[in-house]
C-alpha cells in the first residue's frame, strides 16, 4: 500500500521556520513508522534527520509526535495510525535543532537533578543485599523507564514552564525513593517538593498515555506527592 507521510521539516542552515513536506512511500501495514522514515531517508531525501537505534522500543531514541501524539516511531505500526496521511513532527517543549531532532540536554538536566542513583553508604555485605520480592515489586514499574522524553514533552505544565522537572525525572526519583536499599528518599522528596517539583503536576494524564513502556506515571507521581505530604513511604 502507498502511505502519505507528512513531515515537519526544519534545516537551521537554510530555513527561517519549519515547514511541512509530503512523501509517498510504499509500505506494509505491519511496517513501523520508523521504517517509513528510513525508506524516505534511504531512497528519497537523505537529508531527513532523526534519531534512532534499537528499532524495537528499548533504547528510547525515536520519540516524536505521530498524528499529534507522542510515540516511539519504532513502536508504532502503519496499520495503527489510520488510513490517511501519517503526520510526523518533533517533540514539543524542547528546542528544535533539525527536522525531528530536538535538544535533549534540558531533559537530561532535569533527570540528573533528582539524584538518579542508589545512595547507601552502609558497607555492603559480602554477597547481595537481601530484598524481598514484595519490596522489589514496590518500585518495579518505574524501573522500566527508557528516558525517551515522550512523557515530559507531552505535559502541558512542562510546556508552560520548562523549569518543571517533568514526569520522567519524577519517575526516576520514584524508582529510588521506594527502593528498600536506598537511604536518600528524604533528600529526593525535598528536591521534589520545590516549586518546580511534583506540585506542578495537575494530573492531566498525558504522560501516562504517552509512555511507550506503559508505566503508570501519574500514579507514581501521586505516590511521591503522598510521601511528601505524609512524610511516610508506606
Amino acid at each position: 500500500m502507498e502511505v502519505k507521510v507528512k513531515i515537519l521539516r526544519f534545516n537551521p542552515e537554510t530555513d527561517k521556520r519549519p515547514h511541512y513536506q509530503i512523501f509517498r512511500v510504499e509500505a506494509e501495514p505491519t511496517d513501523r513508522v520508523l521504517d517509513l522514515l528510513e525508506k524516505i531517508k534511504g531512497y528519497q531525501d537523505g537529508s531527513l534527520a532523526f534519531r534512532r537505534s534499537c528499532a524495537h522500543g528499548i533504547c528510547g531514541s525515536d520519540a516524536m509526535r505521530i498524528n499529534g501524539v507522542n510515540r516511539l516511531a519504532c513502536k508504532t505500526l502503519v496499520k495503527d495510525v489510520g488510513k490517511g496521511t501519517v503526520t510526523v513532527e518533533p517533540l514539543l517543549g524542547l528546542p528544535l535543532i533539525k527536522d525531528l531532532i530536538v535538544d535533549m540536554e534540558p531533559f537530561f538536566e532535569h533527570y540528573e537533578s533528582v539524584m538518579p542513583y542508589l545512595i547507601n553508604d552502609e558497607p555492603p555485605p559480602l554477597k547481595e543485599r537481601l530484598q524481598s520480592p514484595q519490596e522489589r515489586e514496590r518500585f518495579d514499574d518505574t524501573t522500566k523507564c527508557i528516558l525517551c522524553a515522550a512523557c515530559t514533552t507531552s505535559c502541558p505544565s512542562f510546556w508552560s514552564n520548562n523549569r518543571y522537572v517533568g514526569p520522567a525525572a519524577i519517575v526516576n526519583a520514584h524508582r529510588f525513593i521506594f527502593d528498600s536499599r536506598d537511604r536518600a528518599a528524604a533528600e529526593r522528596l525535598r528536591i521534589l517538593s520545590d516549586q518546580f517539583g511534583v506540585y506542578r503536576c495537575h494530573t492531566i494524564f498525558n504522560c501516562t498515555l504517552a509512555c511507550p513502556r506503559e508505566i503508570q506515571i501519574t500514579k507514581a507521581i501521586g505516590e511521591v506527592k503522598k510521601a511528601i505530604a505524609t512524610g511516610s513511604l508506606d
Partner: protein, 598 residues
Amino acid sequence: MRLHQYDVVVVGAGGAGLMAALYASKTATTAVISKLYPTRSHTGTAQGGVGAALGNLEEDHPEWHTFDTVKGSDYLGDQDAIEFMCTEAVRAVYELEHMGLPFSRTPDGRIAQRPFGGHTNNITGKPVRRSCYAADRTGHMILQTLYQQCLKNNVTFYDEFQVLDLILVNGVAQGVVAIELATSDIHVFHANAVIIATGGHGRIWKITSNAYALTGDGIAIALRRGIPAEDMEFFQFHPTGIYKLGILITEGVRGEGGVLINGKGERFMEQYAPRVKDLASRDVVSRAMYLEMREGRGIDGKDYLYLDVRPETVNRFAALDGRTRPDGSPYRVTAEELLSKLPDIIDFCRTYLGIDPIQQPMPVQPTAHYAMGGIPTNRFGEVVIDEKNKVLPGLYAAGETACVSVHGANRLGTNSLLDLLVFGKHAGLRAAEYACRSQFQALPKDVADFALEQLDSLRRCKGEGERVSTIAEEMKEVMMEHVGVFRTAEGMQQALTKLRELKERYRNLKLDDCGKVFNTELLNAWEVGNLLDLALVTTASALARKESRGAHAREDYPKRDDKNWLKHTLAWLQEDGEVKLRYKPVVITRYPPKERTY
C-alpha cells in the same frame, strides 16, 4: 578543530564503556565519547540475564561455568581468560547489586536465577539455574545502573560524538579524532590511554537483532591503523528472532520452558540435542532450525518455526522431561507467572506480531546477533597485535568489540553481559594505571587529516553518484545468503566478489545533505564503509577456515579439525584492500578438546 586532553578516553558508552569509565575515573581524568546518548546503547536490549555461579537456587560452581563456556566455545576460547571471567563473575554480580541493580528476587530475598542454553550441572549434564536476571530487561537495568553510577561519580561525557580515527604516535596510542554530530566540529581527544568499547557489527546481515548503531566503528578504525581483527568468521546467529524483523526473543523463554516446534507440530530439538534439547548452545539450535526448514518442515513450508511458551505446552513438555522445581515438586507454570517473568517479550509480540504468546506460538527465525571476534586483547583488556600477543601500549578494548577470547567459536547466552562487566572493569583499571604513569607525546600537525579525508571523500552533493542505502542493502543480502548459518567455498567466493564490487561503487556516492548540523546521512555513509570493511574481513577469514566449529558451519568441511584449525585467526586489512591472514594458538589449560554434544 578543538583539542581536549584526558588521561583516559573511552569510546562507546554501552556496558563495557561505562564500566571502564567508572573504574578508570577513580584515579584518572576520564572522558567518554559516544555517538549515542549512553542510555541508547545496545546493552540495554539484552534480556535474559548475566551468568554467574552464585548457586542461589541449586548447587553450582565457577568451575562448572568455566567448563560450560570452554565447551560452548567449541574449544576455541582461551581457557585462562575464561576461567578468569567465570571466577570474577560472582563478584561482578554482587557488585552490580550493591550499585543498585534491581535484580528479580527469590522468595528469601536473594538474586533470582534461571536456566540458559549450554549452562549445566557438570555432574548430571542437566540445565542449571545460573542466569541472574531482572525480569526480561537485565541489559536495560545494567545500562541504567552503570550510567547512574557514572553520573554519581562525575564522569565526563561527550554525547553524540562520532569517533573517526585512532591516533597512534611512535607505535603508542595517544587518543582519538571525533566529530560532534550537532555541529560537524572536529575534536581531537589527546589521551595516554584509549579504551575502545563500540559494540558489535550485526548490521552486516539482513536479519539481525542489532541496533542501527551497531556498525563496528571501533574495529574498522583499528583495522585502518594496521591493527588486526581476531576470529571474525565467528558470528552468532541467535535461534529466536521475530520472523522477518529479527528482533530478539530471549533464550530465557526456553529457560522458562518454551519449546521450538516445526511445521509438523514436533519438538524437533529432541533429535539434535537429546539431553538438553531446546537449551543446547545457540549455534546448535540455529543449525537445527535451518536443517528443519530446508527439509520442508518450516511452518507452512516457509522459512520460520514456532517458539511455543503457552502454559499448556510448557507444562506438557516439562512433565515429559520430568522437570522439577528446586524443592523437588513438578515444574508447572501459569500465565500470570510468565507475564511477570517475560513482560517485554509479550509486549514485543503484541506490538509487532499482533499475537499474545500466552495464547499463540511465536513465529521465529535465526537472527544475526553477536560477534565472537573483534579487536584482539589479553585478559587485562590490553590490545595485542600479532601472533606473539605483542601489546600495543595505551590501547585497550572491551565488550563485544573485543576478542579476549572468551567466547571462541560460539558464545553462551548470559556471557556477553558478563564479558562486558569483567573486561570493562579490568580494561578501565589497567588503562588508568598505565595512563597515570605515562607522558603525553606531541601530536603531529596533521593529526585529524586522515579522518577529514575520509569524510571529504564522501561529502559529494553534486554530479552523478549512487545512494549509500542501495550499497548497504546489497551487502546485507549477500552476507545473509552466503556468509550466514551455513557456508560453502563457492558461496563465500561469490560474496567476496560482490563485496569488492560494492567497495568500488562506494567510492562514487552522492549525498543529499552537505550541511553541518546533524548530517546523519554523511555519518551513515561513513558507517556503511565500516560495515563493508568488516564484511570483507569476515568473509576472507571464513573462506580460509576449512573446518566447521561453533558458529562457523561449512557444508564442504562439516567436521571440526583440531589438528589443523585449533587456532585463532588474525586478519589485517591492507591498504590495497586485500586481507592478510595469520594464526595464533589457543590457550588450553585444563580442558583438552573433546567431541561436543548436548
